[in-house]
């Protein structure tokens, strides 16, 4: 191991140092420094992103560094940049929120950076040990973030539930890892893949290990039946945190999911596919139907994010090259549209947890046509109506299922996405077709940063819907790293 191997690792090192610095800066700046701190945090994310572009890209093909712990490939770069963008947007969205809340911003921003660091490791880990550690870094940061508003009953409760279930899932995950290790004698992804390609036996110990690891991953992406934490954690968490955990960690979890199941475990596809099929179908059905009767917007979006995890899982079930890149594209699209939707939830949260009920949106189109139009775009996109990005994402994922011969899965998903329109449009109905006769209509948060971030999300959502080719191109360049096609 030579020192030069550390060069591609520089972005991560920088981010860790930045997080630590932010912690110290937070103490000295105190509660008024929310905006400065989040600018600092976003700045360090930007520097880290530049570093990734400068030194983290795979020159001369994908390879591993630092004792085979990390991959340097375009797949990793794709997901690293994606999760960092998501974190950056959340940081800027949350600045005003923290300012209003009086909870200290320093730790908050540092935790988001540390979680991002964990996600970067998840995106590039080449060994089950490094993947596990990255996953736990992300998870622990999330537990703390969800419970960050510790004097809110809901926040604390959400954190407690998330923590207990998260720890259980990580227990299942490590048990699975131990079985894989027992069967193959290695924790290195490359060696695992090589071993599976050569022997290709239906070894029960091995396959059980794979499936238990799969359970751990299903938990992280919030798929049925490991979704149970989602609604409560989403509802309880401070809204910027909800926005955060609904996108970044989910994208990172899918990165790891793809890395493991379409990378290392791909030769055993025939073995684990049935489990993922059932989980995907159940997730799509459950998420959409349970969302129908939700009155709390955050909770509704939680179920919606369960459903979206189900759509993305379909690409993994397909197990093809197209399945792989369609999930990559889907995660990008989902990140922006979901962040945008949560941005509006933040915007309406002027009084305590007001702006969380569907009825709080009544008459919004009349009072704030621009806001309503933006929300409409995100709802359309989440429901998968063209020409928004959400349609593209679904189209790709469903096509991958049809191509792989899983037509019924695609049919289920299409029917359920038709159902999903109902709950997304409950908000639209409130905004456009109701009068909002409340004595005191909920005012909007005036925060230019928030507006700007929502604007970015609107732009990306529309741009990808109208012209998705560049994103698909990038994703396709990333997919070769996994050696599928």
């Amino acid at each position: 191991m030579s020192l030069s191997q550390f060069i591609p690792f520089l972005p991560e090192i920088f981010l860790a140092v930045a997080g630590f610095t932010l912690l110290l800066a937070g103490i000295s700046l105190g509660k008024r420094g929310a905006r400065t701190l989040s600018l600092l945090a976003v700045g360090s994310l930007a520097v880290s992103a530049v570093l990734i572009w400068a030194v983290g890209r795979p020159a001369g093909g994908p390879h591993t560094i630092l004792g085979g712990m990390l991959f340097v490939d375009t797949f990793a770069v794709y997901f690293k940049l994606l999760t960092m963008t998501a974190s950056g947007i959340v940081l800027l969205m949350s600045a005003g929120y923290l300012e209003r809340s009086e909870y200290s911003p320093g730790e908050f921003d540092a935790l988001i950076l540390f979680a991002t660091l964990g996600m970067m490791i998840m995106a590039s880990g080449a060994n089950l040990v490094s993947l596990y550690v990255g996953l736990e870094l992300m998870a622990l940061s999330q537990y703390v973030l969800v419970g960050y508003f510790k004097l809110e009953l809901k926040s604390n409760e959400g954190a407690v539930k998330y923590f207990v279930l998260g720890a259980l899932s990580s227990g299942i995950l490590v048990y699975g890892i131990s079985l894989i290790y027992g069967a193959l004698g290695t924790l290195d992804l490359g060696e695992i893949r090589a071993a599976l390609t050569v022997t290709h036996t239906a070894n029960w110990t091995l396959n059980l290990g794979i499936i238990l690891v799969g359970f751990g991953m299903l938990f992280k992406v919030a798929a049925v039946p490991f979704h149970v934490w989602t609604p409560d954690a989403y509802e309880g968490a401070p809204t910027p945190v909800t926005a955060f955990i609904s996108v970044g960690p989910k994208a990172a979890a899918f990165a790891m999911f793809l890395r493991l199941f379409l990378g290392a475990f791909h030769p055993e596809l025939a073995q684990w596919r049935i489990v993922m099929w059932v989980a995907a179908a159940a997730t799509v059905i459950y998420g959409n139907i349970a969302a129908l009767t939700q009155d709390n917007v955050k909770r509704m979006l939680a179920y919606s994010s369960i459903a979206h995890a189900g759509y993305a899982l379909i690409g993994i079930v397909a197990g093809t090259v197209m399945g792989l890149w369609s999930v990559m594209v889907y995660m990008l699209i989902y990140t922006f549209m979901n962040l945008g939707a949560f941005g509006f939830v933040i915007m309406l949260e002027t009084r305590g947890y007001a702006g969380e009920l569907v009825s709080d949106y009544a008459g919004l189109a009349k009072r704030h046509p621009g806001v309503a139009a933006g929300m409409l775009i995100f709802m359309l996109s989440l429901a998968g109506i063209p020409p928004t990005a959400g349609f593209m994402g679904k189209l790709y994922v469903f096509s991958s299922a049809v191509e792989a011969g899983y037509v019924w899965l695609a049919v289920i998903a299409v029917i359920m996405s038709a159902v999903s329109l109902y709950y997304y449009f409950r908000i639209v109905v409130e905004m456009y077709l109701k009068d909002g006769e409340a004595d005191e209509p909920a005012a909007l948060v005036q925060d230019r940063w928030l507006d700007a971030m929502i604007g970015v999300c609107v732009f990306v959502t529309l741009a990808i819907g109208v012209y998705p080719a560049p994103v698909v191109g990038i994703a396709q360049s990333g997919m070769h790293a996994l050696g599928l096609g």
């Binding site: 279930l165 359970f215 938990f219 039946p225 009767t293 090259v321 469903f398 049809v402 038709a418 009068d435």
Partner: protein, 703 residues
């Protein structure tokens, strides 16, 4: 400059208008004159550009040449394995297509759209600045979406427009959102459409998997060249696409949203829910005529749904008292005619009827808007009457449209409707695809619907324009003719309703096939089917010669006399000194006939004994007796008992509503049970996870 190479600009003009009005005028509350100028320029440029492009295209290239303008590659997806193990490039480009089918649609959509923009200026002048801007921005956005739908060169682009018009329709239905029922009507429209859309999406997927492309110019020639190879797939694709069309074009059983959609402003009803959007389904079926022709079952289903809808909706129309509701059911019925036409292989006639219907139905709606405007917003015909003297322009233009829809020679509707009925009869006579007797029944339903149409339309005219005014004195005082912005579109459309049919004079009358302009024009769209088509295609060919000229004249005379009979019955019932007397006396003198045909109680009893009790029992057995279902049914009973509808009562709107509610209830229940999994405390969640994990493991081990 070749305008036809820049057809993608046509939809962009209204989009720009929508953007300016929606983002600037609405936000800043700019003056109305600015708003409608922008909107008029947006739609007007689309009209001018569209027509210029079409004329130039015809002159330069001829109608047999298809112009395809590709903007860029929209969806790119690498190489995919499709059915049959072949590989195909999964690419969809953002491309637009100008051929005779889209030319016809662009031609009348932009034109009627522009007229309705003018009309809206007068109709909406009471609105405040901001809603006014919002209204026009939605209207322009609708034009944009509709043009994308029409011009799209492949199914996905068409689908963009398809969803877009649905959204705009939804927004415009709910425009008066102060009224709560408008909101629910908008929701209903969107959801019902969405049910159809899932068929459309699956159809797109399947098309790609079968043909390896979704571009019209690529799939249709292939399908037409190998009819036997693709016959079964074409049937499935056709049926899936038709599910989409049923939603968008309000066919049984997805028609429920259209009558409710009348909650929107009247110009919107005219433009979207009569002239343009609802005909999108017909356009799509005609566009994909190759698939339907090589898949006879799909075609038969189209014909059956169309024919039954035509008759069924017409019967409901007889009993409505709300002027816009009559027109709404009439639209559903006329759309049924169009599908009947497509289903019997008369694709040209279907499009012909789309065009003439756009003229006279838009006119009818605009006329009714004018009436409603005069009656201070009242829509109940029982409170109207005698308006002929006050608003002559409205009356005479309305009369022209009424004659057109009733199918009186030589008004526009006569030609198109007669051609559809003639083709339906021919299909029966030539035993098309071996389903001859079905086509005979459908032809009979069509004839019956023609009678009813004439009846209810003249009932409407007599109740509205003749006799004495039956509203309050105050309202009577307020009666006035509409401003010129509203009258002008009426006059233009009135002229078109009279002469519009001349573009499709049948060979029978002129003696020359070349006088049937629309058939010649649309000929390139109807691709010839290759050899080996089997009896299906042969049968379509046979229908052309199945009916001798003499029989054709007879049919013509029959439909004309049927229409006149309908008018006469309406006249004797609702016109003159003893208006409204006759229905009552008729009833008293012929109690038996009354019982058979008109007695709502008699039908009600059958209906009560069979349908309702059955459904109630079913509901009891299958579902946890939910209050909503019963509500729907109880509403249905009440409606039937109190209402004046007769035959239609069997499938009354409210029952369909009840069934729709039933579906909703199932989802609601499921949602409720699913939510119960979310018990609220961590150990319970852990239990769900562990049990779920055990179940998944068991599935794995078993399989």
């Amino acid at each position: 400059m070749k305008f036809y190479n820049l057809i993608w600009l046509i939809p962009l003009f209204p989009l720009a208008g929508a953007a300016i009005n929606g983002l600037i005028s609405n936000r800043m509350g700019l003056k109305k004159s600015f708003t409608h100028t922008v909107a008029l320029i947006g739609s007007g440029l689309a009209w001018l550009w569209g027509w210029t492009a079409i004329i130039q295209w015809m002159a330069d290239l001829g109608t047999h040449h298809t112009v395809i303008v590709t903007l860029y590659q929209w969806i790119s997806g690498g190489t995919l394995k499709i059915f049959g193990g072949k590989l195909a490039q999964a690419t969809v480009s953002a491309s637009f297509q100008l051929d005779s089918a889209s030319a016809v649609m662009v031609g009348f959509v932009t034109f009627v759209g522009f007229l309705i923009h003018i009309y809206s200026i007068g109709y909406m002048h009471d609105e405040e600045d901001r809603p006014y801007a919002r209204y026009f921005s939605y209207l322009n956005l609708f034009m944009f979406s509709m043009l994308i739908l029409v011009l799209g060169a492949n199914l996905p682009v068409m689908f963009v427009g398809w969803e877009g018009v649905g959204l705009c329709s939804y927004l415009l239905i709910g425009f008066y959102f102060e009224k709560n029922w408008c909101a629910s009507a908008g929701m209903k429209a969107f959801i019902t459409n969405r049910i159809g859309d899932f068929g459309f999406i699956l159809g797109i997927f399947l098309t790609f998997m079968v043909f390896g492309s979704t571009e019209f110019v690529k799939i249709f020639p292939v399908a037409a060249a190998h009819p036997q190879q693709y016959a079964s797939w074409a049937t499935i694709i056709g049926l899936l696409l038709f599910v989409g069309a049923m939603g968008k074009s309000a066919q049984i059983p997805l028609y429920v949203w259209l009558p409710d959609a009348m909650a929107g402003p009247t110009p919107v009803s005219a433009l979207i829910h009569a002239a343009t959007m609802v005909t999108a389904g017909v356009y799509m079926v005609v566009r994909c005529n190759v698939l339907f022709r090589i898949g006879p079952v799909a075609m038969l289903v189209v014909a059956i749904v169309g024919g039954v809808t035509a008759f069924y909706a017409a019967t409901i129309g007889m009993a409505q008292n709300d002027i816009k509701k009559v027109l709404a059911y009439s639209t559903v019925s006329q759309l049924g005619y169009m599908f009947l036409g497509a289903g019997v292989g008369a694709f040209v006639a279907a499009i012909f009827h789309v065009v003439t219907h756009a003229f006279f139905k838009a006119l009818l709606f605009l006329g009714s808007g004018s009436v409603i405007h005069a009656c201070s917003g009242n829509q109940d015909m029982r409170k109207m009457g005698g308006l002929r003297k006050v608003m002559p322009t409205t009356y005479w233009t309305f009369m022209a449209a009424t004659l057109a829809i009733s199918g009186i020679f030589p008004f526009a509707g006569f030609f198109s409707k007669d051609e559809i009925l003639g083709k339906a009869f021919a299909a029966g006579k030539s035993n098309l695809n071996g389903f001859g007797w079905v086509y005979y029944i459908l032809w009979f339903l069509g004839i019956a619907a023609a009678f009813i149409t004439a009846f209810y339309m003249f009932r409407l005219v007599y109740m509205t324009f003749h006799g004495e005014f039956r509203g309050t004195e105050e309202e009577k005082h307020h009666l006035h003719e509409s401003p010129w912005t509203m009258r002008f579109p009426l006059q233009v459309l009135g002229v078109l309703s009279i002469i519009g049919g001349l573009i499709g004079i049948p060979k029978l009358m002129s003696g020359h096939a070349k006088w049937n302009l629309i058939e010649r024009f649309l000929d390139p769209v109807i691709l010839p089917i290759g050899v080996g088509a089997g009896h299906a295609e042969a049968a379509v060919e046979v229908t052309r010669h199945a009916v001798s000229p003499g029989l054709e004249w007879l049919l013509l005379a029959l439909s004309l006399s049927i229409a006149i009979a309908g008018i006469l019955v309406a006249r004797s019932f609702y016109y003159g000194e003893r208006a409204f007397e006759k229905p009552r006396r008729f009833t008293e003198r012929h109690p038996l006939l009354y019982k058979v045909v008109l007695n709502k109680y008699y039908v009600d009893e059958i209906y009560q004994a069979t349908v309702i009790n059955g459904v109630v029992k079913l509901a009891r057995i299958l579902w946890e007796f939910d209050a909503r279902v019963i509500d729907g049914i109880v509403n249905g009973v009440r409606h039937v008992t109190v209402g004046t509808s007769f035959v239609s009562a069997i499938f009354d709107l409210k029952i369909i509503d009840g069934l729709v509610n039933l579906v909703a209830t199932i989802y609601d229940r499921a949602s409720h049970y699913f939510r119960r999994l979310q018990v609220g405390f961590a150990e319970g969640y852990a239990m769900v996870m562990v049990l779920g994990a055990a179940a998944l493991l068991a599935i794995y081990i078993i399989f």
